[in-house]
Every structure is written in structure tokens, then in C-alpha cells.
Symmetry: C2
Subunit: 244 residues, 2 copies
């Protein structure tokens, strides 16, 4: 990528990263959505994914802390409201805890991240560090996996409701609001990236940031698949599902 791309070409390049690397292509997600997971595997997914969800507002606060523009901070602040709620008992983190309870986990264990895989922790923490340490342009670009999330959410909700009798619409309430929130969030991020990636190097950094973020999501599923699909691979200290 040595020439400057037009905004539309950059957008297409970002979409092609998702087509190759977004975690909807991961074997574990296919298992999950096609009904091939045991209840214990769904629990392990929810427990580990909650570690990610719980760090999203931390990541967004770290990002806001680096913005020197009031309008941009205000726009990004909506993400904190979405995840932490307008008041107690509301918001995406709370709805994820309910999802975890809905699939049979103990709320306290999930909230305390007991038994979360090291691979999950290291991936999520890499994301928080990336957003804190890289340029603001790269930090914002790493959020652009939300370009691809509405499609995976639709597959997930349909697939999980169809295949798992222990999953209800109420359990999956987290996902109801997400597609419209993601669409709005991605407009803010894409607008910033388009206006601020003005050299080939900057555009390359934007693409690399999206690759990095896809790697975060992908490697979380690698860790999950390795630990919970084939027997004998569970790392010391990891959540042990009840025999089902």
C-alpha cells in the first residue's frame, strides 16, 4: 500500500480485512451458531467473552482520555453509556451478566472472572494496551470490527435460539440493541479515520489496527476452542463445566 487510497478505496480495504479475518469465520463460532456446542461449551464461551465485554468501557475510557476534542469525546461517551448503563441494572455489561446467568453460570463467579482462560485475558489486555499506547488514529481504527458485528449478531441470535433449549430471547437481550448502536458507533469511527488517515503510512496503520483487532477476537476463540473442544487440553485453573 504505497499510494494514497480514496475514502471509498480505504473503506473497501477495511471490508476486505473483515472478509478474511473477522471471527465469524472461526471454527468455534461455526460450532456455536450451528448448535454443535454442549451447554458447558456455551458456558465457557459466555464466561470468557464476559471478560472482553467487561473491558470494553475500560478501553473506551482510555480512548476518551486521549482525545483533545470535546465533540469527539462526547460522541465516544455514548459507548460508556451503552455499556455501563444510564443507571444501575442497565447497560451492556449488566445484560452480558444476565446472559451468563441465563446459560447457568453463577453471576458472582462471572463478575469476578473466575476460571477465565489466560489466552482470553492476554488478548483483551493487549486490546486495552493497544488503545492506550498507539496513535489515536490507530486506537480509533481498532474499533472498526463493528463494521462486521451486525451480521454475526444476527447469525448468533438465530442460531442459538434455534439450537439450544437453554437459551431464550431474554437471555440474549444484550444483542437486541447492539446492531443499531454498532451502526452509529462505526459512523463516528469511520468518519474520524477517513478524515485523519491522510498519508499512505497512516492508511496502512489504520488497516494494521483493524488486523490487530481481528487477531484479538480470533485468538480468544483459538484459546476457547483449544481448551474446551478436544479433551485433555484444559489449562490449569480454567473453568471446568459440569458433565452434561
Amino acid at each position: 500500500m504505497t499510494t494514497l487510497l480514496s475514502p471509498d478505496e480505504l473503506h473497501q480495504r477495511l471490508l476486505s480485512v473483515g472478509a478474511e479475518r473477522y471471527h465469524d469465520k472461526h471454527p468455534f463460532h461455526r460450532r456455536l451458531h450451528e448448535g454443535r456446542c454442549s451447554r458447558g461449551q456455551v458456558q465457557a464461551w459466555a464466561l470468557n467473552r464476559f471478560y472482553y465485554q467487561a473491558h470494553i468501557p475500560v478501553k473506551d475510557a482510555a480512548l476518551i482520555a486521549r482525545m483533545d476534542d470535546s465533540a469527539l469525546r462526547r460522541a465516544w461517551r455514548q459507548r460508556l453509556i451503552d455499556h455501563d448503563g444510564a443507571e444501575a441494572g442497565d447497560g451492556g455489561v449488566e445484560r452480558w451478566l444476565r446472559l451468563a446467568e441465563g446459560v447457568g453460570l453463577d453471576r458472582g463467579d462471572v463478575a469476578a472472572h473466575r476460571g477465565v482462560l489466560a489466552g482470553t485475558k492476554f488478548a483483551v489486555e493487549a486490546y486495552v494496551h493497544f488503545v492506550s499506547e498507539r496513535s489515536l488514529l490507530e486506537a480509533i481504527a481498532s474499533s472498526l470490527t463493528e463494521l462486521f458485528s451486525p451480521a454475526i449478531i444476527q447469525n448468533r441470535v438465530q442460531g442459538m435460539l434455534a439450537h439450544y433449549d437453554f437459551v431464550s430471547t431474554e437471555t440474549l437481550a444484550y444483542f437486541t440493541a447492539r446492531p443499531s448502536q454498532a451502526k452509529r458507533d462505526v459512523e463516528v469511527a469511520l468518519d474520524y479515520v477517513t478524515r485523519n488517515a491522510r498519508t499512505p503510512d497512516q492508511q496502512q496503520a489504520v488497516v494494521a489496527a483493524l488486523v490487530f483487532k481481528c487477531d484479538v477476537l480470533w485468538s480468544m476463540l483459538d484459546a476457547l476452542h483449544y481448551a474446551y473442544v478436544e479433551p485433555g487440553n484444559l489449562p490449569p485453573g480454567a473453568f471446568i463445566p459440569e458433565a452434561s
Copy 2:
């Protein structure tokens, strides 16, 4: 752990962490040492492990930067000399590059970390961040996996020489010096930890730091085993071994 342990009890507790969680118990290490790896799997191990090795002097420099005691900095500085060498062409990082070349990898690709797994990167970076951000006591305690490394090195060298015709004593030269270096390093670290973990909370933090470090090494092998042992799991962008 609510009572204060004696130095010997603390030492025993640390040894018990290794007995449960050190990566010599990992299925991939058993494969590697028992000769059940293909040449491509040994290459993938060397490539990913080099990412760890290359960051060890970075980690040690971050640690030295936090020490306010000249004698302690001087003792720890020996690690920089061991890994970066007294002069060009010398040192542990260089010997690891030769190991990677010895098993058939391109030196430039390895040095540039091309195709390293995201799971490897996130684990290694978690270690560097841990050492930079936690207390100096925890940072030093996280080095104590060297309590266990002489045994694994002996198994590895014997096993690899016995089972792989593409591995020579010269290729494994890195490991020749390590047991005596590790023994000396661990004395420094253990002395510091014993003198400075003076409350039950501090002792618990020391044990947790060693657990964390075991998780780093273990999750590197989880990522490697998942990607390279069963077919169909290779993440996008990862090193692809030649068909052997």
C-alpha cells in the same frame, strides 16, 4: 494464605506452583520432547518461542528501570549481557536465531517475527506489561519460573537430539549455558523475594506473580498446539510450514 510463611515455606509454595503449572506438563512439550513433532511443528515452535526470547531483554530492561538500588540493577544487568551478548554475534537472542536457522527457518523472517501467532504475541506482551506495571516485588517474582527451567532444558535437549535428525548439538547451543545462568539468576530473585515479601498479602502477590508467569508460558503452547497439531485451525496470517 492468611498467615505469614517462613522463607522455607514460601519456597515450598513456589515449587508447588511449578509442579502444577509449569509448561513442562503441557501436551505440546511432551510431543516436542518425545519426538512426535513434524519438522514444521518444530519450526513453528522455534519461530514463536523466538518472539518470547527476543522480548526477554526488553522485559529485563523494563525491570531494571524500576530499581532504585545500584547493586540490584548491577546483578540484574547480567541478564542483559547473557541475552544481548558482550558483543555482536554473541548472546542468547543470537543463539536462538541460530537455533531457528538450524531447524530450517529463514533468519530474516524469524528476526522480523513474520507469521508469529497472535496468541504468542499477546502472552509475551502481557509479560512485558506485567513487569512494567505491577510492584517491583511482583515483577521480580514473575522471573521465578527459572526455578524450573534447568529440568525442562535437560529433557528438551536430550529428547530433541535423540528424536530429530534435523537437530544438532550446535543448533541447541542456546541451552548449554542456560542452566548455570538460570541457577545464578534465580538466587538473586529468590533472595530479593524472600527479603521483601514480609506480609501475607505480599507473599500471596509473589505466588500469584509466579502463577501469572506460568500462564504466559502455558498459553503460548496452547496457541501453538491449537494452530499446528490438528488440521484446519491455522489462524489467518500465521506461519505455514512446508509440507513435510
